[in-house]
Symmetry: D2
Subunit: 223 residues, 4 copies
């Protein structure tokens, strides 16, 4: 059975006064994935201690290694984020930073724990910026071994009438384009994940992903 | 045999005083593609009359329809561009705009002439910005039916010593990371294009790619 | 009297079947500027022959030099653009490219024809991306000698009911936030332009704007 | 005396094994500012507890309110960041998010604690992306009341030979373009801050900065 892990980058803590739009939208994707036989898990980043850094394990108290282990066991990796000033949230940016050691590995050896996995995004915003967020995350993903099928993103830009998560979910499910996007995205992710499981991309060559002569992609050792 | 078409967005006309870095880098990719049995053609956009607009055919004298026909017959589509102020060139931006009618079709019907094709980028710059260019073009591609395999970009950020295209090509081929990137990219593009030829993604649902309720992705009818 | 020049990057030709949202929004800004004693001129880029390139004058038939001369005589420079795939239009991107020779001058001498001018943006889109467009153009402007006051942008993201430019202008003027943005923007632009006319920034130092050791900002001589 | 506050977004903790490139570059800017009579303070964000959220005070244990108070007392606000995957660090993104309540105020009342302050950026990266980072931060700044003079950014993209901060500082100071950029930036920031202290921009109108009808810039209440 295929497995998807969704890293939820909402700024709101679990059990806080307001529900998370991004979580509700992620659940709609999970439902669509389930129909295609894909099991999903949502990890809400606010609930974990993930210190700043660029290594896979930053030492005592770091809860990132357990999350990373789940990603490695997944076939599909989804980054779910609200938009803040045209970009993804600080919690998702931290994920990108903490994946740097894994990226160094792919740069140096051509191997990656993420190769042959499939990537996608879930995005919410009151208005502006889904395309720029999709763009930034897509660039990150293709440089970290992931494959992106068409329509690999689900986004909702707008407000909500309901004050509960359940009510908001109903609102979203009444929008045909949300249901259509979720269905297509779920289908394409699962289709591509199965295809790559049956026909994996061969390991890439050493140094095959460095953008410049001296430095690796995103590497910034003394920043 | 697989076919790749490279749209070359250099600002320099063919036969001008200076050679195009982006063309030289594109040729290195073509060589790598050829080794994997993929036939390539480079179309230099400066040599065509492509008026501004958002339709597939803007009327008398428009040379875009012939280019579009070649893209539709290709298995792999590459956008090759220099970086100007952190973005792709005006000639590549025009390509995105002229593909809008095709995008409308995928939004409205779920069908696209580009579905099951594979996308990639070739980028040159004196310095800054490949990641942002890759990001923007990746977002465009996944919303237009293309699939992106990992490492689907080849970029060179730097100067050149040689004053001829041949000399510059030699310089680039002495950089192991350029050869590595070109090889990996060519391999992944061909692998994915063959995979999708044998196992095509099903046609997507109607309205499956609209980002918002009222408007389609990138649609901007009276702008 | 202060003078503002607006470069209008709509893809639609003058006199075409559909009016330009971006032109209508630009006119609202012009009206607001006029109330503050600023004279404005809108130059519609579709109506000029501006070949690709990076020099201020690309030779016979090039109509850019006349536009550039108007910019140099202006106190306020506005780039007005629809959003296409999260970015400004190909016509505005061409403007950035054609200003490269002027940028080389500021990099090499610290002097610029644009120093002590004030910049702003007018943006329209059916939905996504004003922040990213403002961002990209703001980066360009501060590296070309322009000063940006707060709230230096006017944008409208949405559709229109009216089929005429006059009708659409009425629709916009019924939106308090559009009137508010236009008024504030016009005020801040004029205030800052007058301030810099009375108290000009001194000429900057040689090499003062190079982003890296070997290459100048945006310079890409063989791209 | 003018006061500048630099928010340092390096991922490295104070006293860790590796020094911060971004801190060293920020110190070079501070030295240049001091020559122009501007007092500077660098606040290293890793050393403060700044929980996720969008309010100015997130409650017990939140150390952001004290930082915000310093920003409000400053004439010049600098965001200093390494580049990670083409964007600013998670610590700087958190700053943008935590300033959301202040942004709501400017949207609703036209008043801002940040109006008549001047903004700038310090950026380091092994390679790619300063222009995109400058762009994103510039967009944020002009929508939060700050004015941006030309050349308001100092960036270094490259490696270092030295293993100590002192050695790296020497390396940087041997690069004429770094000294030139720092001097010009410091001069322009101080010039503009003095100009706005003597000739403040009037308070802006209510609703003057909303990008769309229903929602304010960056507001995303249930994300």
């Amino acid at each position: 059975m295929l497995k998807a892990t969704i890293l939820l980058g909402t700024l709101k803590p679990e059990g806080g006064e307001a529900f998370s739009n991004t979580k509700v939208l992620s659940e709609i994707l999970c439902d669509a994935l389930a129909e295609g036989g894909v099991e999903s898990e949502i990890l809400r980043l606010t609930e974990y201690r993930i210190p700043p850094g660029t290594r896979s394990d930053m030492g005592v108290g770091d809860e990132w290694p357990a999350i990373l282990a789940k990603l490695v066991r997944s076939d599909i990796i989804i980054l779910a984020t609200p938009i803040w000033w045209g970009g993804h949230s600080s919690l998702i940016q931290r994920v990108l930073e903490r994946l740097d050691e894994l990226n160094d590995e792919i740069v140096q050896t051509g191997k990656s724990e993420f190769l042959n996995k499939v990537g996608g995004m879930v995005i919410t915003g009151a208005e502006d910026g889904a395309q720029n967020v999709i763009a930034t995350l897509a660039n990150f993903m293709v440089w970290n071994g992931l494959t992106l099928p068409p329509a690999c993103s689900l986004s909702y830009l707008g407000g909500q009438k309901s004050k509960t998560a359940e009510g908001f979910k109903k609102e979203l499910l009444e929008l045909p384009y949300i249901v259509g996007m979720a269905t297509t995205m779920a289908h394409n992710l699962a289709f591509m994940a199965r295809l790559l499981k049956d026909h994996p991309l061969p390991v890439q060559e050493k140094n095959s992903q460095a953008l410049t002569e001296n430095v690796s992609v995103g590497e910034n050792p003394s920043a």
